[in-house]
């Protein structure tokens, strides 16, 4: 029987990464994810692995890029303004097809914002954020156990497609404590897959790069990345939804979904017909699956801790604006269940 232990979100995510065989952690302090950096500073050396407190988030993502190009499992973590600094590095890594894991414990924005939980980085992480056409695979856990499980598997997903993966959390997830079951320790199985920069011994030299100057080559590369993302979309799109014909179908991710679950439970007890469609991958977004689910429900209520970002993906998916309502909480604050309940009730009128 696996042991359940009480852990703070940030630390649980860190431990999950360690157990997945993390070899290099490079991070910079920023609230509300500082516990990760501190935890790593103790645990990584304990396990004989690399830890560097970088001089900036710019440096941190580039340390990840370099280290990960050798084929080792590497990670960085940050929060919104720090993630903004990492966008250049993320774009380069996607272009060079170097796998790694980035964790965003989202806080309020724009700019310095506040240190409260938010979902205002949805656009930043799913709509590029950095330059060029590229796709970050983005998971949005809503409980600590889910965060642990997704972090644990993110390295393999990242390596499978040679594409960076992001765990999109928020300050609430990072700071709360819940019981979790931690996975077993594992190491990356390291067959040389033909791209790692580990010294050109008995082979031609390799390069990791995103520059493609020769005529037609960048176009070719972009089309390749597009095909890759289509494959990722087919294979890795994840969502949580209990099929039904609802009067109101809530669409929410992460902590907003978690609060909405309470609202849903309360209203169901009162006899209302309410469902929840919860994307687990916000990128690739489950467009098809949401369209099907939405077609069976009377109203769609998008609930987000921002001014409306996933809202646009929902509109794209549902293709029926009259059906869609929205309630948002920007500014680094969470919903109370009553707020969502009231909005649901107003949708029913």
């Amino acid at each position: 029987m696996a042991e359940k232990i009480l852990m703070k979100g940030n630390e649980a995510i860190a431990e999950a990464a360690l157990r997945a065989g993390l070899k290099g952690y490079f991070g910079y302090p920023i609230t509300p994810q500082n516990e990760i950096t501190a935890y790593m500073s103790a645990r990584m050396p304990e396990l004989g692995r690399a830890f560097v407190q970088a001089e900036s988030e710019v440096a941190a993502i580039n340390m990840v890029y370099g280290a990960a190009s050798t084929g080792e499992r590497c990670m960085t973590t940050s929060s919104s303004p720090g993630i903004a600094l990492m966008q250049e590095g993320i774009s380069y890594m996607c272009g060079a097809e170097v796998p790694a894991v980035i964790v965003n414990i989202t806080r309020g924005g724009p700019g310095l914002g506040n240190i409260g939980p938010s979902q205002c980085d949805y656009n930043q992480v799913t709509r590029g954020g950095g330059n060029g056409d590229y796709d970050l695979i983005v998971y949005a856990p809503h409980t600590l156990q889910e965060a642990v499980d997704l972090t644990y598997k993110s390295f393999e997903i990242s390596e499978k497609y040679r594409n960076p993966v992001m765990i999109l959390g928020d300050g609430a997830l990072g700071q709360m404590a819940e019981t979790v079951v931690l996975p077993d320790f594992k190491e990356k199985e390291k067959p040389d897959e033909g791209w790692e920069l580990n010294g050109a011994k008995a082979r031609s030299p390799r390069s990791a790069k995103s520059l493609r100057l020769a005529e037609g080559k960048l176009l070719e590369h972009n089309l390749h990345l597009e095909e890759k993302f289509k494959l990722i979309s087919r294979n890795e799109t994840e969502y949580s939804y209990e099929d039904g014909d609802y009067d109101v179908l809530i669409v929410a991710f992460g902590t907003a979904a978690r609060v909405a679950k309470t609202s849903l439970k309360n209203l169901k007890e009162q006899g209302y017909s309410i469902g929840l469609f919860r994307p687990v991958t916000v990128h690739p977004f489950p467009y098809e699956e949401l369209r099907k689910a939405a077609s069976k429900s009377k109203k769609i209520l998008v609930v987000e801790m921002n001014r409306g970002q996933m809202l646009f993906d929902v509109r794209l998916s549902v293709q029926n604006d009259e059906k869609i309502e929205f309630t948002g909480k920007p500014g680094g604050e969470t919903f109370m269940p009553e707020e969502i309940e009231n909005k649901i009730l107003s949708c029913l009128k």
């Binding site: 890029y65 370099g66 050798t70 250049e88 990791a208």
Partner: protein, 248 residues
């Protein structure tokens, strides 16, 4: 007949895109010879800059990762920390290292990473067409200082080798030039020494190389090489500014 001079194994047999008389070709060769002589080629990962040497992977016969502009020392740090068995170097120009990358180089040096930095100083931004660099000399005309670098508005050049030498962690910092066979041979010895320090796990080594940029200086290759000695050297003295391990 015995072969007196040939291409090192660590250089690929490619025609470079560098301008006639550009110093990069010589410096690449010195790095290549060094990797051969220290038997490092097969365990080397180099980090390429953004600048004229962005296509480093077409010329150097080792694994190479392309860094975003200025970030090479951070990539090199990451590589060396997870694979300390590899020989890791960055190869950077003035803009890459001393402008946008100033934070990354100072902190990699400050941490004393066991890596080797090759810094090519040609007093301008070559690739983008000759703009002012942090290393541009006072009064030097560039495409962004059309009336000459004015120190009251554009500041003074950075002497990187001295700056690095003044940090506690680095074990070696030197400046050389590649204007003639004697100085090129000295530069080679310096570069080789810097790489040998990494091989012996002795710490962070930095080599600054004064190099000609005929095209952007508006000079012939011969004139440009002369300008390195006549104009650059008085601002950027040659020498070893730090050598903790003391050999040479």
């Amino acid at each position: 007949m015995t072969v007196a001079f040939k291409k090192p194994e660590s250089l690929l047999d490619t025609k470079t895109i560098y301008c006639p008389g550009c110093g990069h070709g010589v410096i690449h060769r010195l790095v290549g010879e060094t990797l051969d002589e220290l038997d490092l080629r097969e365990k080397t990962v180099g980090v390429a800059p953004v600048g004229c040497a962005v296509l480093l992977y077409d010329y150097i016969n080792t694994d190479i990762v392309e860094a975003p502009h200025g970030r090479a020392p951070a990539l090199a740090t990451g590589i060396k920390r997870v694979r300390s068995d590899l020989n890791v170097f960055s190869y950077q120009g003035d803009g890459d290292l001393a402008s946008i990358g100033m934070g990354e180089i100072m902190h990699a040096a400050g941490r004393g990473e066991n890596i080797t930095i090759i810094f090519v100083n040609n007093a301008n931004y070559g690739m983008t067409g000759g703009q002012m660099a942090p290393t541009t000399l006072p009064d030097q005309i560039t495409t962004t200082t059309p009336k000459g670098r004015n120190t009251s508005t554009d500041g003074f050049p950075f002497k990187m080798a001295e700056l690095i030498a003044n940090l506690d962690a680095p074990v070696f910092s030197a400046r050389v030039k590649i204007t003639d066979p004697k100085n090129i041979n000295k530069a080679k010895k310096t570069i080789k020494y810097a790489f040998s320090l990494q091989k012996e796990n002795k710490g962070f080594a930095f080599v600054e190389i004064l190099s000609a940029c005929p095209t952007n200086w508006g000079k012939t290759p011969s004139e440009a090489v002369k300008w390195v000695s006549d104009a650059m050297e008085s601002y950027y003295p040659l020498g070893i500014f730090k050598d903790i391990w003391g050999e040479k």
